[in-house]
C-alpha cells in the first residue's frame, strides 16, 4: 500500500470544479485510489459524490492511498494536482492524460 499526504491548495477547497478535475484524474489513472481526511474513513477517490461529501476546505491535509502496479506514479500525479489551485483560471482543463 502506498500513501501520500498533501495540503489542498484550491481556494474553494475540494469542491465544485477542483473536485471534478480531481475525480476525473483518478478515473484516468486506472488505479483504485482512496482519499481520507485526517483521522477519517477512506472513501473512493474516483467518486465525485464521496469526494465532495468529505467537504475538505482550502489548506487542509488529505491522505491518498493506492495499491498495486502504477500506484506510486498515479499518487505522485494526483498529489501534484491537489497541490495546484484548481479553481484558478489557468488550471488544467483536462488533467490526468496527455492529449
Amino acid at each position: 500500500m502506498v500513501q501520500r499526504t498533501v495540503v489542498v491548495a484550491s481556494r474553494v477547497g475540494l469542491h465544485a470544479r477542483p473536485a471534478m478535475l480531481f475525480t476525473q484524474a483518478v478515473a484516468a489513472s486506472g488505479v483504485p485510489v482512496t482519499i481520507a481526511r485526517p483521522g477519517g474513513e477512506p472513501v473512493d477517490a474516483g467518486s465525485i459524490l464521496f469526494v465532495m461529501s468529505l467537504g475538505v476546505p482550502h489548506g487542509e491535509e488529505v491522505t491518498l492511498a493506492a495499491e498495486g502496479d502504477g500506484a506510486e506514479a498515479a499518487l505522485d500525479d494526483l498529489v501534484a494536482l491537489l497541490a495546484t489551485d484548481l479553481d484558478a483560471e489557468d488550471a488544467p482543463a483536462s488533467p490526468g492524460g496527455a492529449s
Binding site: H15, A16, A27, G46, S47, I48, L49, M52, S53, G55
Partner: protein, 569 residues
Amino acid sequence: MTAPTVERVLHGVGVGRRGVVGPVAQVQPAPHVPADAPLLVDGVEADVETRREVVDRAFTDVAEGLRDQSSRATGTVRDVLAATAQMADDKALRSQVLAKIGAGEPVVSAVDGVVEMFATMFQQAGGYLAERVTDLRSVRDRVVARALGLPAPGVPELHRPSVVVAKDLAPADTAALDLANVLAIVTELGGPTGHTAIIAGQLGLPCVVRVAGATALVDGTEVAVDAAAGTVTTDPDEAQRADLDRRAGVEQALAADTAPGGTADGRRVQLLANIGTAEDAERVATGAVEGVGLFRTEVLFLERTTAPTEEDQAAVYARALAALGDRKVVVRTLDAGADKPLAFATQPDEENPALGVRGYRLVRTHPELLETQLAALGRAQSQAEAAPWVMAPMIATAAEARDFAARARAHGIAKVGVMIEVPAAALRAGEILAEVDFVSLGTNDLAQYAMATDRLRGELADLLDPWQPAVLDLVDATARAGIQAHKPVGVCGESASDPVLALVLVGLGVTSLSMSAGAVPAVRYALRHHTAAQCQTMAAAALAAGSAVAARGAVVGLLVPEVRATLGL
C-alpha cells in the same frame, strides 16, 4: 377548422402586455411512482439481472444526455448541466444502486435509498454542498424516469423558440432554461407577483399564470399567448396572429424612444428597472433605463442553508454597481420572511408570517444579517467606485427608519431610504422622511396590508388592485409628504409598470418609477404625451372615484386619443 379540441382558449392572469405565437414545450414533473413500482419489460416484471441492466443503462443514458445538452448550452445553464451529468456518472452512486437491485430491492427504492444517503451527507456538510442536493435529486428523477420508460422530467432542451409550459417553475428550473429560445412562459400555478412572473417581466417575455389546463397542452402545438388578455389559444387564426403582429410592431416603435423619461411639458420622471441579480444589472445596463430603482437582494440568500458572507455579497453588489456605472442603483436590504422564507432566518412557528418578523424586522432576531449586508454594500461601493442608494423593507415607524439610517450611514452609505409598504408608514410619511433621504412605495405589499388581502391568494386579486382608492389615498399621503420635504418619492411596485396608473402616480407627485425593464417603453410613451397638469387632473379623478374599476375608467377617459389607440385601451 372543426377538429374537436378540448378547450381552445385557456384563461389565466397575464403579466405584462405582450403576445406571441409559438410551439408548446412542456416542463415534465418529477416522476411520482411508488418505491416498489415494478419494472416492466414487454408487460411483465423483469428479473433481477434485467433490472440491473436497465438501471445501469439508465445511468449511462442520463449522464450522456446531460453531457450532450451541456455541450450545446452556454453560461450558467452549461455549468448546471455539466455538474449534474457528473453526478449521474458517479461510479459509487451507480455501483451501490446496482448492488441493492442485485440483492432483490425494487429499482425505485434502490435509487432513492442511495441518493438519500448522499443527500444526507451533503446536508450534514452544509453550505455549498447542501445546495447541491437539488442537483442530486434531479439525477434521481431522471434515472427513475428513464428506467421506467417515463418522459424525462425537468426543463426540456429547446431546439427552437418555444412557449414553455409548466405546472410551476422553481428558481432552479429557470436556471436551466435556455432563455434565447423561450418565447413565453405559461404556468398552471403561481400568481402575478410570484417568482415566475417577476423573472418573465425582467426578461420582457409574455407570461400568463394560473392557467387551468395548461399542462394538458400537447408538446409542439402552436399556441398564441396573449399576456394583455390573459389567454392561451390553441391553433390561433389569421386574425389573431395579425393582431399580435401589429402589437409587436407598436412595442418596437415605442422602444425606439430612448430619451430620459418626462412629461410632455418637460417634468423629469426617472424610469428605472427592477432587478434581482448582478446578471440582471448587466442585462438592463444595455437598455434605455436610467438606472435601477429596486435591486431585490434576497435572490442571493434564497435556497441557501447559511447566509452568504460579506465577501460573497460585496462581489455581487460591486458587479451590479460596475455594470450600471454612473446610473442610479437603489439596493433594498434583505426582504426575507412571509412568501420568501430563509432556512437560517425564518421563524418556524409564525402563524401569520406576512405580519411577522420579516424585512427590516429581522434586526430583532438576527441583527448580524443586516450588519453583514450593509458592510458588504460599503465595501462594494469602494470597489466599484459607485455609490448605491440603500433602503430597508417593512419599515412601520419613524424610529425604525432612524435606526436603519444610523446603521447604513455607519457603513458609509450616503443615500439612505426606506420602503413605504406598511399603511402606518404611509400615514406618517412626513416623520419618516425627516429621518431618511428618500422613500420608495412598494405598492404590492401596501395593497396587501391596506386591503387585508394575502398577495398569494389569486382569487382575491380584485381586492389587491392597486387602483383601489384606499391604496391611492396612501400613495397620495406619501407623495405629499415628499413634496413638502423636497425629497424623492419613488414607486417600485408593479403598479409603476401600468402606463395608465403611472400617469396617476406622477400626478400625485411621485418622482421616479421602477418596473420590469420590459414595461419601460410603454410608460415612457404615455408620459411623453401628457403634461404634468394633465397627470394631476387624472390623479384627482382617480382619488374621487368610488371603486378601482371606476378610478381606472375615469383616467382612461382622460387619456389623449392617440395614446388610447396605441395602447389598445
